[in-house]
Symmetry: C2
Subunit: 152 residues, 2 copies
């Protein structure tokens, strides 16, 4: 339950890379730092843009290759939202996303929140879902309130 600083987390992930025979490089460190800092919800393009502030010559292809490497090692996961967009986040921070269509806010929803649905699908359909992070779209509490105020 020890709380790690972001730097520690980055180091830890670099160690996992090294332990798998991968090399410690600046590019990888920079990409990982962005993912850790953003704490979820980063698109590949976000990462590239952000990383290129510090390393202008770093190519998107490197970002994609790094993401693929991290995915292979189970360190990050890729999520597709219901609108076709995609983001990456740390695997140990797995969660669903509630995306507000009005203000764009993305709220996290613990994986456990869909336990009931899982059980239902298994009981009723014999279908065993994976704990695949979902991106659900709708209106967040704030926007719902203001919408109610605006209309009618």
């Amino acid at each position: 339950m020890a709380k790690h600083s972001h730097e520690d987390q980055v180091e830890q992930i670099m160690d996992r890379l090294a332990a798998s025979g991968k090399r410690r490089t600046m590019s990888r460190q920079a990409v990982i730092k962005v993912i850790v800092d953003y704490h979820g919800h980063v698109s590949a393009d976000d990462i590239a843009t952000r990383v290129q502030k510090d390393f202008p010559s770093l190519d998107v292809s490197t970002v994609y290759r790094t993401l693929e490497t991290l995915r292979e090692l189970g360190i990050v996961e890729r999520v597709w939202f219901a609108d076709g967009s995609t983001v990456y986040h740390l695997s140990d921070h797995k969660h669903h996303h509630l995306c507000c269509e009005r203000c764009g806010a993305v709220q996290e929803l613990p994986i456990s929140a869909l336990k009931n649905l899982e059980r239902f699908l298994l009981d009723e359909y014999g279908f065993e879902t994976h704990q695949q992070p979902l991106g659900l779209f709708g209106l967040c509490a704030d926007c719902r309130r203001s919408t109610r105020g605006d209309s009618s």
Copy 2:
């Protein structure tokens, strides 16, 4: 509750197009026919390939434009699966999808199946989801049985 033949359904949709000031064209009819025949789960590319058997000169851009027109009129909807792929289906046949990762089978799940989840999100998070069709991945009943048989 009248059961319509596929031809009737296509005609009916063509009528709705005409009623909206759109023209009745072969291309549109062909695209609609494929969507109606497939009864859901068609990708734009599926449609293009299929339609081009009858109309080889029909361009993909026409398929996309037709799909967009149909979407504007609320006749078809686009769904993004959790693996990033996308399909189109008739709006009056709205449903979620249970996609088996092993055999590729796609099972339909009524929208109502997620009512409990919706209520939960509203009560617990104040988040109002839209009835957005989802594509959930996992193992279907058949594959679950055979997997149990195979391993251990």
